[in-house]
Amino acid sequence: MLSAMLLAGCYNLRISLPEGVDSTERFALSTLKGSNLDHFSETQGTTYLFWGIVSPAPVDPEQVLAPYLRGGSRISNLTISSHHSFTDALVMFLTLGIVDPLTIRYEGDVVGASAPRRR
């Protein structure tokens, strides 16, 4: 098991938009110009199995953030953080690490396409 972990690398987590997604300049980690419509904080769960040897599928931010992209609005100042929440840690503890949930948090602003303003 140790050699498998050493060879494969464990606890892999990939955060990216899926290949072929038809989106241009709508998910920005930097500050975008535009009227600030909303601030959001969303979470998404993912799970490692068997002490990280079985890693989850790539995390797709679009699944969570798509509802904020209506009517030409865009996402600005996006920060992505991953951590074990209390519940995640409890599950990990009770299953001795066999099931290891992880919480991904997205936080940012929704800006409109029109009425640009200086930030």
């Binding site: 690398g9 892999n12 709508r26 930097s30 953080s81 951590h83």
Partner: protein, 130 residues
Amino acid sequence: MNHVSRLVCSVFVMMATGCYSLTHGVATSRNAVYLDDARGSVDRHFKEEDRALYMLFGTINVYQPRLDDKISQYLRKGVKVANLKIETACTPADVLIGIVPGLFGILFSSRTVRYEGDVMSTGKGGTGRD
């Protein structure tokens, strides 16, 4: 306090603080950074790697990679970053980093963080910021 109480307290602290946390954001860059595609031509593709360092099962963040620092070398006037991918992994090197101090009773661990994306020219000669 007996050993069982100490163990329960330690586990509770781990759970309460949230372990192996990692945050990616752009705080200081004047250039635009996108997870998706951007308008313009691709100047170059980049891959950068850094290592997050933790102690006590990830409850103490010793060092956190900063996306700003890793991509700053590519950013100049008129460019932006697009198609950014962020990958966190526990590589064989990270396993060894954890094992060696562990032999001396130091609970030290690390995670490798990789940033990958395209540097794109806006063609306007501006800052690249939208």
